[in-house]
């Protein structure tokens, strides 16, 4: 409203600011003041320009706003600076007292130290001088003791007294001085107390003053700031008001303009409306005529349509009747169908129930059958058990019966042999020998000797070789009895050990961990077992095949390496030996002899020195066929591979005989029994037959002879009887009476 007045206020304010700037913080600063003044000038210049602009045109509000803001901000900043300075000065003023007391204290301490030092010095001096005096006096006492004249002694005593008094006086003086000092100190203490209380009161005073001052200043500054803000607000208000009025005026002008244009527009529209109306009327009339004509045409059409309608109605009625009939028919059919449907539903239900029933039935059946099956399985198992039991029992029985029969047969055979013997020896006078038949030695049912499994062999081997360590030569010839003769146990063992060490990869890791706590030999056994099962070695034969394979391989190697090695001769010899031993089944004797040789050699070696050890080794190698030292561990895997490749083929055939393992082989039974029955060969039988015939004849002759003998006997008896009768007759009295005795006629046989 009143820009000049407003600006005047601003000017005043600016002057005030300048004044505060000069009076306030400018007490001791050149540069900031200059700065502030420069700012002031800048602000004044801006205000000037603004005034000019206000008279002429409007400024954009933003700049103004900014300046206004900066003004209040400036005021705030100024007050803050002033107040901080004030506070700083105040605290300095207050702490000045503390600093002053501090420095006083420091001075006091320095002085005190100095005084203390002086006092100590003084005391030391005093001690020294008094000591001197005292020494003097004591020396004089000695002097006095030598004095004989009483006057002199008296004189001397007097002087001594004087000296002592002087000494004591000195001391007293010192004491009084010290006491004086003490008193002074006491006074000073009181003074210090007073001084301190004064200081404290001064401090309090200053603090209070400061507080008051600060409060006053703060209030003043607050007022200043408030004033500045108020001024700013007023300015803002006035400027806003101006703006508002300007806007209002512009608004009014624009409104008027709008009104005029609107009126013009209204007139225009009116004219246009009138024109439109006239045109519309004409158009209306023409359209009306045209429409009436149309109506007439349409009425005609309506009549025509009505006629066609009636025609159509009749047609439709007829159709309707027909359709009704058909509908009735269809309802009948529908009901029939429905009935049929119901019936079929019933059937379906029946079938369903039947189906369910059957399912149930079948389930039950199934259950019963499964239970039956289970029962049967149980029974079968029991039966099997019984079977097993019975087979065992049967086997026993069979064996018993076999034994019994065999015994019987053998007894019979024995009898036959006895008889044969008797016949031969007694009758024929031939020498007789008991025929040697394999079946005679057989006891019990014949069974094919079981093949030993590889593992069993291993076990034997290991155990045996363990024993070997203790009783070498002695046990060897016995133990070899049940070994096939190809190779010595030691060699086999060594090869196996080698195998065991080299082909650990064939063993499962689980097994290895389990093996750890076991004994060494047991461990080897189990490991070998695992390796063999991996390689597919099952029987004794396989095992020995393998060992042989190893040896052969080595021999092959050796022969190839013959030319290079130093001790070629020996190795060749050995390979020859090996070949021999492998190809021809070396009989036990040779082995025994070998072992004997070895044992002898060993004994010799034990007795002999170093020289003989060489020979010993040579021999040992010779004996050992393949000391595994000559098979390099690296070769083992190659050999194994080759061996496994070779072994594969026969392996496929193997499973068949295995199945029949428990079935007894009775093929040789009949043969056995037959042979047992045919103990006496046919030739002998024919011999026997001939003998029998001859004997029969002989018997006939003998019987005839016996008969003849009997006849002879009876005749002799008759003769004897006749003789006795004759004797009787002769000796009878009749005879005597008779002239000629009959006796004379014949002669008595004298015999």
């Amino acid at each position: 409203m009143n820009p000049s007045g407003n600006i005047g206020v601003i000017d005043q304010n600016g002057e005030e600011h300048l004044a505060t700037a000069i009076h306030g913080p400018s007490v001791h600063s050149d540069n900031p003041q200059e700065r502030i003044q420069a700012r002031r000038l800048r602000i004044a210049a801006r205000q000037e320009s603004r005034r000019r602009e206000a008279l002429g045109e409007y400024l954009d509000g933003k700049k103004e706003n900014e300046e206004e803001q900066s003004k209040s901000y400036k005021q705030k900043e100024e007050s803050r600076l002033k107040l901080t300075k004030l506070l700083l000065c105040g605290t300095e003023l207050v702490t000045n007292i503390q600093v002053a007391t501090d420095i006083r204290e420091i001075h006091r301490r320095v002085e005190e130290e100095e005084i203390k030092r002086q006092r100590l010095e003084k005391l030391e001096n005093e001690v020294k001088t008094s000591q001197d005096k005292f020494d003097e006096i004591t020396a004089k006492w000695e002097e006095g003791r030598q004095k004989r004249i009483p006057q002199e002694l008296w004189e001397m005593l007097n002087t001594q007294q004087v000296h002592c008094a002087g000494l004591i006086e000195d001391k007293n003086k010192l004491i009084s001085e010290l006491q004086q000092e003490l008193k002074i100190k006491d006074d000073q203490y009181v003074k210090d107390l007073k001084k301190q209380s004064d200081d404290i009161s001064l401090l309090l005073e200053r603090m209070e003053e400061q507080v008051k001052n600060a409060m006053k200043n703060f209030r003043q500054e607050l007022n200043h700031i408030e004033k500045a803000f108020e001024l700013e607000r007023q300015e803002l208000l006035s400027s806003n008001k101006k703006k508002w009025e300007r806007a209002l005026q512009a608004h009014n002008a624009k409104e008027l303009e709008y009104l005029i244009t609107r009126m013009k527009k209204v007139e225009d529209y009116e004219k246009q409306l009138n024109k439109q109306r006239a045109w519309d009327c004409e158009e209306y009339n023409t359209i009306k005529i045209k429409l009436e004509r149309d109506v007439q045409i349409l009425e005609q059409q309506l009549q025509q349509m009505k006629a066609t309608y009636q025609l159509n109605q009749e047609k439709l009625e007829y159709n309707f009747q027909v359709l009704k009939k058909r509908d009735e028919e269809s309802t009948v059919i529908k009901s029939q169908q429905k009935r049929k449907l119901n019936r079929l539903h019933d059937v379906l239900n029946n079938l369903r129930s039947k189906y369910a029933k059957q399912i149930k039935q079948f389930q039950e059946e199934n259950q019963s059958l499964t239970s039956d099956y289970k029962r049967l399985v149980g029974q079968f198992k029991e039966l099997q058990r019984a079977m097993r039991h019975f087979t065992i029992i049967d086997a026993e029985k069979f064996r018993d019966i076999w034994l019994m029969n065999e015994e019987e047969a053998k007894a019979l055979a024995q009898r036959a042999f006895d008889v044969d013997c008797v016949i031969n020896v007694q009758h024929l006078g031939l020498p007789w020998k008991i025929p040697d038949f394999w079946f005679l030695k057989n006891v019990g049912p014949i069974s094919l000797q079981q093949r030993k499994s590889a593992a069993q062999i291993l076990e034997e081997l290991l155990l045996q070789t363990e024993e070997d360590g203790t009783e070498e030569a002695m046990s060897e010839d016995e133990s070899y009895l049940d070994l096939p003769e190809q190779v010595s146990a030691k060699t086999t063992k060594r090869i196996l050990m080698l195998l065991c060490d080299e082909s650990g990869f064939l063993i499962e890791s689980k097994l290895l961990s389990l093996l750890l706590p076991l004994e060494k030999s047991e461990c080897y056994l189990l490991r070998l077992d695992a390796i063999f099962s991996a390689l597919g070695i099952e029987s004794e034969d396989d095992l020995y095949k393998m060992v042989n394979f190893f040896l052969r391989y080595r021999a092959h190697r050796l022969s190839s390496a013959k030319s290079t090695s130093v001790n070629t001769e020996r190795t060749s010899l050995m390979s020859a030996l090996e070949c021999l031993s492998m190809l021809s089944q070396v009989d036990r004797k040779s082995l025994v002899s070998k072992s004997e040789v070895e044992s002898i050699v060993e004994q010799e070696a034990l007795q002999g020195g170093d020289y003989e050890r060489l020979a010993d080794r040579e021999l040992r190698e010779k004996e050992g066929l393949s000391s595994p030292r000559l098979i390099h561990p690296n070769d083992v895997l190659k050999i194994l591979e080759a061996f496994v490749m070779g072994l594969k083929k026969p392996k496929d055939v193997r499973p068949v005989p295995r199945v029949k393992k428990d079935v007894r082989d009775n093929s040789r039974d009949s043969e056995y029994w037959a042979s047992l029955a045919m103990v006496i060969p046919a030739s002998k039988q024919s011999l026997w037959d001939a003998l029998y015939k001859a004997l029969e004849k002989y018997y006939l002759v003998l019987t005839q002879r016996a008969k003849l003998l009997m006849e002879n006997d009876s005749l002799e008896q008759q003769n004897a009887e006749m003789q006795s009768l004759l004797q009787q007759y002769l000796q009878a009295k009749v005879n005597a009476e008779l002239q000629i005795p009959p006796t004379q006629g014949f002669r008595l046989p004298t015999k």
């Binding site: 001791h28 900031p32 300095e92 600093v99 002053a100 501090d102 204290e105």
Partner: protein, 499 residues
């Protein structure tokens, strides 16, 4: 007595609202007979203890024929109960079972002189304790006690007891009985006097001269003060221990043996602070702590888990004590160390400086009024070169002179942590002042630098003041606009050469 108002209120429920107003006046004034004329509505008012009240009587507001008639209504049962509770609070404290509003009422009516055994652990209401404090002490500065009136009450109560405790005559149970009551609330013990045990024959001797002091030293064990051990062990939240072994207001009855901090005191105090793991601030001032005692105390503080401030100002600690303090610096998390007004000399200051050089905890070091001289001052200045956390350093009154000032002026541009440096009351001299000014011109962090009474020329002091002012402005800018860290600094760097 109690039935009638209840019955009346039951029957006249529609009049409840009007009664409430009356009831308040009646309970407050006792006999509010002035109220009835204001009421114009002819509502019947129940009369207490009048069985013959009829309907006719109920219709009237004033009954002149009944002399006992009063509109004052029997207060509510709850009011009566609350009054009763307040009256018998000492014997039967019921508070926690009440509703919050009733609790408030009870608390506002409780007398402040209830025995502490009843109130201590039961009442947490600040208003109650506020009343207690106001009644008991005229000046209460609650801000010093963490803004809690209850804490303030117990702390000051305990302080009073400790101040007036006379070993040998006062029953120690006086304090120990209080322990279970105040253990949860006391965080600070601030005792500025410990009374020595009373010896009857001594008062006459006390008038004699300082001989009694030397006599007292002979019979030292009898002069032990109160042993804080059991008390401190019981306070589980204790954080601050502020002790002065001396007697206040002795005036001209001064006697040396009133200010004896005996070895037994020292040992027991050492054990006490060692056992107190919550202790953060330990102050033992004006107690004639000499080197040996300081060493005992500091040894007990080595590797203390919580200690942050150690104040041994105004004692007799010498170089050995300072060396012990230096060791403590490297064996604890001490943030504030105050050895003002002791007898630390150059060797002690050197050992402190050595510890300071690699310390990362200490924020404030006060060696005011010692005598570390230039050697110590130079050592500390060297330490400031590597130290990265010390903000306040007070070396006032230490006989420092120009060499220290030159070294400091070299260190000041390097160090960026120091905020407050005090070199007042030294002999820095004119040249030293100029060198310090040079050093200050390159420093941007120091906000306060006291050089009063240190023989520095007015001009350099003034210019240093200017530099400080600039630094302060910069710091203010930084705090005002932490987001625009770079701009104010660059601005200042432009302004500084001008200013």
């Amino acid at each position: 007595m109690q039935d009638s108002p209840a019955a009346a209120s039951g029957s006249k429920s529609q009049n409840q609202s009007t009664f409430n107003v009356q009831r308040q006046t009646s309970t407050a004034g006792g006999a509010g007979s002035g109220a009835p004329p204001l009421k114009t509505t002819p509502n019947p008012t129940p009369v207490h203890l009048k069985p013959k009240t009829t309907n006719a009587r109920r219709m009237r507001r004033i009954i002149s024929e009944d002399a006992e008639w009063s509109l004052a209504i029997v207060p509510l049962l709850t009011e009566l109960c609350i009054q009763h509770i307040v009256k018998n609070f000492q014997n039967n404290p019921i508070l926690k079972q009440l509703l919050p509003e009733h609790q408030q009422k009870v608390l506002s009516h409780l007398p402040h002189d209830l025995p502490l055994t009843v109130t201590a652990n039961l009442i947490d209401d600040e208003n109650y304790w506020h009343r207690c404090c106001i009644k008991r002490w005229s000046v209460c500065h609650v801000a010093k006690h963490g803004g809690s009136w209850k804490r303030m009450f117990f702390e000051r109560h305990l302080e009073n007891l400790l101040k007036l405790f006379i070993p040998g005559t006062t029953d120690p149970n006086v304090i120990l009985d209080l322990l279970p009551l105040c253990r949860n609330y006391v965080r600070r013990i601030q005792v500025d006097q410990f009374l020595p045990p009373v010896r009857l024959p001594t008062p006459p001797q006390a008038d004699e001269q300082s001989d009694s002091g030397s006599e007292g030293e002979g019979s030292e064990p009898e002069k032990d003060h109160y042993q804080l051990e059991s008390l401190v062990a019981g306070l589980k939240h204790l954080e601050e221990l502020d002790l002065v072994y001396g007697v206040k207001d002795c005036g001209m009855n001064f006697e040396w043996n009133l200010f004896l901090f005996t070895f037994r005191d020292c040992h027991s105090l050492a054990a006490t602070i060692r056992a107190c793991h919550t202790l953060k601030v330990f102050r033992l001032t004006r107690s004639k702590v000499d080197d040996d005692k300081a060493r005992i105390l500091i040894r007990s503080l080595l590797d203390h888990p919580a200690l942050e401030e150690l104040d041994l100002s105004h004692n007799l600690i010498g170089d050995r004590g300072a060396r012990a303090a230096a060791k403590l610096l490297s064996h604890s998390r001490l943030r504030v160390l105050n050895l003002a007004n002791n007898q630390v000399r150059a060797p002690g200051a050197q050992s402190l400086a050595h510890a300071l050089a690699h310390n990362t905890n200490l924020v404030s070091l006060n060696l005011h009024l010692n005598c570390i001289e230039d050697e110590g001052g130079q050592a500390i200045a060297h330490a400031l070169e590597t130290n990265k956390c010390l903000t306040t350093l007070h070396l006032g009154g230490n006989e420092l002179s120009e060499p220290t000032a030159t070294l400091l002026s070299q260190v000041l541009p390097v160090n960026t942590t120091l905020i407050n440096l005090n070199l007042s009351c030294n002999h820095i001299g004119l040249d030293g002042g100029k060198q310090l000014l040079e050093g200050m011109s390159d420093n941007k962090t120091i906000l306060e630098f006291d050089l009063r009474l240190s023989d520095v020329s007015q001009e350099s002091e003034y210019l240093i003041g200017q530099a400080l002012h600039a630094n302060r402005e910069a710091a203010r800018q930084r705090t005002l606009s932490p987001g625009y860290f770079m701009t104010p600094i660059t601005n200042n760097s432009h302004e500084n050469p001008v200013g």
